[in-house]
C-alpha cells in the first residue's frame, strides 16, 4: 500500500485560490507528481506562476520526496 504522506503549504495568491494553506497529499513521490495532483484538484492554479520549495529549499527541477516532506507553493515574493 502506497501511503507516503506529503505536507503541502500554500502562500499568498496560491493559498487564496485554493482556499486552504495547509493539507496532506498521499501516494506522491516527486514534485512533478505534486504539481500534477494540485492542478487536477485546483484547475485555477494553471494560470498562476509559482515556485516550489521542498523542506524550505527552492527547487528548480523535479525532486523526489520522502515521506513527511514539506512542499511549499510560493508565488513571486513581494516583500519590502
Amino acid at each position: 500500500m502506497d501511503k507516503q504522506k506529503i505536507k503541502i503549504r500554500a502562500f499568498g495568491l496560491i493559498a487564496e485560490k485554493m482556499e486552504t494553506d495547509d493539507f496532506d497529499l498521499e501516494g506522491l513521490h516527486d514534485t512533478d507528481g505534486v504539481r500534477m495532483a494540485l492542478l487536477g484538484k485546483f484547475p485555477s492554479l494553471e494560470k498562476i506562476d509559482f515556485a516550489i520549495a521542498v523542506d524550505k529549499e527552492l527547487i528548480d527541477k523535479n525532486t523526489s520526496l520522502k515521506s513527511g516532506a514539506e512542499v511549499a507553493l510560493l508565488p513571486p515574493f513581494s516583500g519590502g
Binding site: E16, A72, P75, F77, S78, G79, G80
Partner: protein, 147 residues
Amino acid sequence: MAKKIKNIFVQGPISPEFIGESIAHHSKKTGIGGHSIFLGQVRADKKEGNQEVEAIEYSSYLEMALEKAHEIREQTFEKYDLSCMHIHHSMGRVEKGEICLFVFTSSKHREPAINACNELVERIKKEIPIWGKEILSNKETNWKTNS
C-alpha cells in the same frame, strides 16, 4: 559555533521611535564611522477604477524566511567589513505612509555600509518568502508584485 537565527519580523508598522532608538544604541560603538539606513514605506499607489492602496498586509513562510534572512546576513558579513547589521520587516497590516522595512548597516567607513545596505535591500525583496497584499480604498485586494 552556529549563530542564533534572529527574528526579523515586527508585527505591524516599524515606528520612527524604534528607528531612532536603534540609531542611539550605536553611540557606544565608537569604532563606527558611518551608518547606512534604508526605510521602505507603504506607497498609496493609484489603481484602476480610481482606487488607491490604503494599506499592505504582509504574510510570510516564516521558517524559510528566517533561514533565508540568516543566510543573507552571514553572506553579507562575509562580503563587507561591517560592524553591525539590522534587518526588520513588518508582518500583518501596515497603513500607507508607514514604514514596513528597516535595514541598517554600520561600518568603520561609509563605503561598506552603503554597499551592504543596498545589496541587503535587493536580496530581501528577491529572496525572502514574503508577500504583500494591497488593500484598496474600496476594500478589494490585490497581490503586490515587486519590480
